[in-house]
């Protein structure tokens, strides 16, 4: 298994892996946040978080990130991908385009995905879009 391949992340997603977005705090020290992946492919990954969250503050100061994923049993393949994050607020059409056809998550109640989308369009939440580095 290639631990720095986006294909490994994409292959892991259907099993609902543990995913952590690592960035740097204001002192340059690593700090990580468990995240839900909205979408991922060979070019990057898409997340959402609260606009006023600490991680947004960190990412706007230093956009270099590492996205880590592994199976929740600790046995499945894992990956660690470097990239650069951008934080943005999409319009409703932009959001639909950015998210594409993401499947539902049986762990969250019906209506949650639409609720989150509404929060993004309202500006309470933002998108965090990570583009993998060359050879990530």
């Amino acid at each position: 298994v290639e631990h720095s391949s986006p294909e490994t992340l994409v292959a892991l997603l259907p099993s609902r892996p543990a995913v952590v977005l690592f960035c740097r705090d204001r002192h340059g020290a690593p700090i990580g946040y468990p995240m839900t992946v909205l979408r991922a492919d060979k070019d990057g990954a898409l997340f959402t978080t609260y606009r006023k969250s600490k991680k947004v503050e960190h990412l706007q100061r230093d956009a270099r990130v590492c996205v880590f994923a592994q199976g929740r049993d600790g046995e499945a393949p894992w990956c660690s991908l470097e990239g650069v994050a951008s934080v943005w607020s999409p319009s409703a059409p932009q959001l639909d385009q950015a998210m594409g056809s993401t499947g539902g998550d049986p762990r969250v109640p019906p209506g949650m995905a639409e609720h989150v989308k509404q929060r993004i369009v309202e500006g309470k939440r933002v998108l965090v879009e990570v583009r993998w580095n060359e050879g990530a």
């Binding site: 952590v20 340059g28 690593p30 468990p34 470097e82």
Partner: protein, 124 residues
């Protein structure tokens, strides 16, 4: 209104970390953020020892570097919990890393589900 996650008591955060089946350790090697899968071997409020999966070389020669350890649970929305433990690597040999903890924080989504999603009835 969606509420953000609630903080976990430090004891609960540490307990979650200790009992996690899988965690992630990230170190800045001076140029890049390197994250590897780890298993918790032992933990107190001050020190945590982890075994690095796959014998990754990330632990070698990284003493004194800042590091972050993350574990979380996500069986359902209301059961989402996580721990973020930050500190400095005091010892790293191939396969095992000891981290001196400087801050351990935890969060929980219990009780944060919007009412209209809890009941399954959409707001007008």
């Amino acid at each position: 209104v969606t509420r953000g996650p609630r903080p976990l008591a430090s004891d609960d955060a540490l307990d979650l970390l200790v009992h996690s089946s899988a965690a992630a350790l990230c170190v800045d090697d001076g140029e890049h953020l390197r994250a590897v899968p780890v298993r918790i071997l032992a933990a107190t409020a001050d020190v945590v020892e982890v075994a690095v999966r796959d014998d990754s070389a990330v632990a070698v020669g990284l003493a004194d570097r800042a590091a972050c350890l993350v574990a979380d649970e996500f069986a359902s929305y209301e059961q989402i919990r996580g721990t973020i433990a930050r500190g400095v690597i005091v010892h790293g040999s191939r396969g095992v890393v000891t981290l001196a903890l400087r801050a351990v924080t935890g969060f929980s989504f219990a009780g944060t589900l919007p009412e209209h999603l809890r009941t399954g009835v959409e707001e007008a």
